[in-house]
Symmetry: C2
Subunit: 208 residues, 2 copies
DNA sequence: AGATGTATGTTAATAATGTAACACATTTCA
DNA sequence: TGAAATGTGTTACATTATTAACATACATCT
């Protein structure tokens, strides 16, 4: 009997997202098989962790050859792909916002970036990396119209809280925040911060 | 007797970095005291965890008022600041690189960004957000000259591996990688990836 | 064909985290 | 002044996550 998705712990699911990405790279390189310790190195964890995760999802590899990149990809994808793709808006089309669009592309597995917003009228109306940029005063109406449920904040720190509240008010349930300021939002909203400075400080700590 | 740094687990030290940052924000807002459950909310963990961490470092707060932002900041800073500031170079002065410089600023506690590098001669020679930009062919000599030990990679995916190897070859011990590709480096080098696409996918997963 | 080496699948042990509980200190309010 | 309310400091416990260990299976090589 196949293990239901509900039985898979969230941490494992999150690592599966990582594995999927890594497997894509490996496939692109033409790799056919991969060992648990190789995946572990790439994912910054341990071989035991990888094997345990794959055990949890009921995937089996071959001793001496490892895991088939193709089969494992298919298996992981099947587990991750059973929800509708999230619909994402980016707010703030400055250097960082444009870099994010260019870097990420507008099409990811499970995620589609549908709109960008900016307060600077010079940046609106055009299409950046495949994503149309609207004036920020249309935020609420466009979010509703396009069925956006996730937001990326690439605005100055001073505006982050306000924009976040406006997004949450029209039904956005998850926010990825690049502004170096903590957001205070109602409990229903999932917030993930990317604080580059803090990341650096933590690496500095490890390397001391 | 004061608890020695060696007794503090790494996980706690990492959270201290987060607390320090949050305390700075609170101080900037004019907050004088903070409760464990407030810090917990901002740090995305629990009040018990905060109290435990502060217990470990031997910090004491006041019942009914919580912790003095100023005193706690000083205490945390004393623990974190006992190593030389890390010396950082940014490679890739495109949209993302410039955004990082502008966002982070070049001065962080424990971290100083001393140089930027780019292959485009148009971007070199000038100063971006307080950081001088050198041509990438001078990478090795400048890294040695400036005593750089940490690198930020904001280059296209195709170049990331090569640049990372060049950095590692001249003694860089930690790399923060924004390129959406996993790096393979000798074991001595600490690598932290910021894969924006993957972050999005993970939020999408939580909100499903 | 048999021995050897290696990586898997799984279980056991360890570590980390979350939850609950409660005595005590401090402020507030009557 | 004294009682009520609240949050700390601490311990104990439950739960979860990570690491280590090891028997088993599969290829390879002689």
């Amino acid at each position: 009997m196949k293990r239901a998705k509900a039985d898979i712990p969230l941490k494992t699911m999150e690592r599966l997202v990582t594995y999927r990405r890594l497997l894509q790279y490996l496939a692109a390189e033409g790799r056919v098989f991969v060992f648990s310790h190789e995946l572990a190195k790439l994912a910054n964890n341990t071989a035991a962790q990888v094997r345990r995760d794959l055990m949890i999802i009921g995937h089996h590899g071959s001793p001496t050859r490892g895991y088939s990149v193709r089969l494992l990809t298919a298996h992981v994808e099947r587990l991750l792909a059973d929800h509708e793709p999230s619909r994402v808006a980016l707010v703030g089309a400055g250097n960082l916002g444009r870099a994010i669009l260019a870097h990420v592309g507008f099409q990811l597995p499970g995620v589609t970036i549908l709109a960008a917003f900016d307060s600077d009228e010079e940046r609106t109306g055009r299409v950046i990396a495949g994503v149309r940029c609207y004036p920020v005063r249309e935020l609420e109406s466009r979010v509703v119209e396009l069925g956006i449920n996730l937001g990326i904040l690439a605005v100055p720190a001073t505006e982050a809280q306000e924009i976040a509240e406006r997004l949450a008010a029209v039904g956005v349930v998850g926010i990825l925040n690049f502004a170096p300021v903590p957001l205070r939002l109602p409990n229903g909203v999932v917030v993930d911060e990317i604080d580059i400075g803090m990341k650096l400080e933590r690496i500095a700590l490890c390397c001391q």
